[in-house]
């Protein structure tokens, strides 16, 4: 089971690498914001997988919870900025 989790984590890292293309080269701010929030969700899962690698999931859940609760604040703030700038 542990090997499976590590393999899943590596696969997710590959996907993050693909999303990173949009973050770095993506035309315009909007693509970057969307890709950045997508990376946030993948980070949440990778954190839990690292918890399984360390065999201490109950410690890593708290960090994941922080991302689940706070990740969208950045999105909303950036959206509000772009609305106000116009």
């Amino acid at each position: 089971m542990n090997e499976f989790f590590i393999a899943a984590g590596l696969a997710l890292c590959l996907l993050v690498f693909l999303v990173l293309y949009r973050v770095i080269f993506g035309p315009g701010v909007f693509n970057r914001i969307a890709a950045s929030s997508a990376i946030g969700t993948k980070t949440l899962i990778i954190l839990l997988i690292l918890g399984y690698v360390y065999n201490r999931v109950d410690m890593f859940i708290d960090i994941s919870m922080v991302y689940a609760l706070l990740n969208f604040i950045g999105c909303i703030a950036a959206a509000k900025y772009l609305e106000m700038e116009r």
Binding site: M59, D62, V66, I73, K80
Partner: protein
């Protein structure tokens, strides 16, 4: 940045989220002993929840809950709690910040007294960090001018 958003969805979801974020922050402060977390992290999350309220619901809504004066008071009170606990230890005959002396007034064994002292200290740190984070965000997003002052200034300028 601090005017109220006119999007009903964002406002509603923020309204639902804010109490949970605040309770989670308090949980992080209180359970720093057993799981990752502590005063710094919890304070930052509390400040972030107030910032979320400020972005989505505007300044008036936040001012009703947490006026500017109270924020500054909390910031100073946090440092004072920290220093005060240290001073209490000094008055009880130990070293500065030696919490095992607190066992005299708390009626527990020294190890648990140190644990409780840690809890108090974390609480103070959390208050300070929350107040500072919130006030830094507030100042930067308004440019330091309170909205009512701005209105007043505009009125004065239009008069004279």
């Amino acid at each position: 940045m601090i005017v109220s958003s006119d999007d009903i969805i964002i406002k509603t979801i923020a309204r639902i989220f804010v109490p949970f974020i605040q309770l989670y922050a308090l949980y992080v402060i209180m359970h720093g002993h057993y799981s990752p977390g502590g005063g710094f992290q919890g304070g930052v999350i509390l400040g972030a929840s107030m910032a979320l309220l400020l972005i989505t619901h505007g300044y008036d809504e936040v001012k009703r809950r947490l006026p500017e004066g109270v924020v500054m008071l909390l910031g100073s009170v946090g440092v004072l709690i920290y220093a005060g606990i240290g001073l209490t230890c000094l008055l009880l005959g130990g070293n500065y910040l030696d919490y095992s002396q607190l066992s005299v007034i708390l009626h527990v064994d020294p190890a648990h007294a140190r644990s409780l002292g840690i809890l108090g200290v974390e609480l103070g740190v959390g208050f300070t960090v929350m107040a500072v984070m919130y006030s830094i965000f507030f100042d930067i997003s308004t440019g330091g001018i309170l909205p009512e002052d701005q209105k007043q200034e505009e009125k004065l300028e239009s008069e004279g």
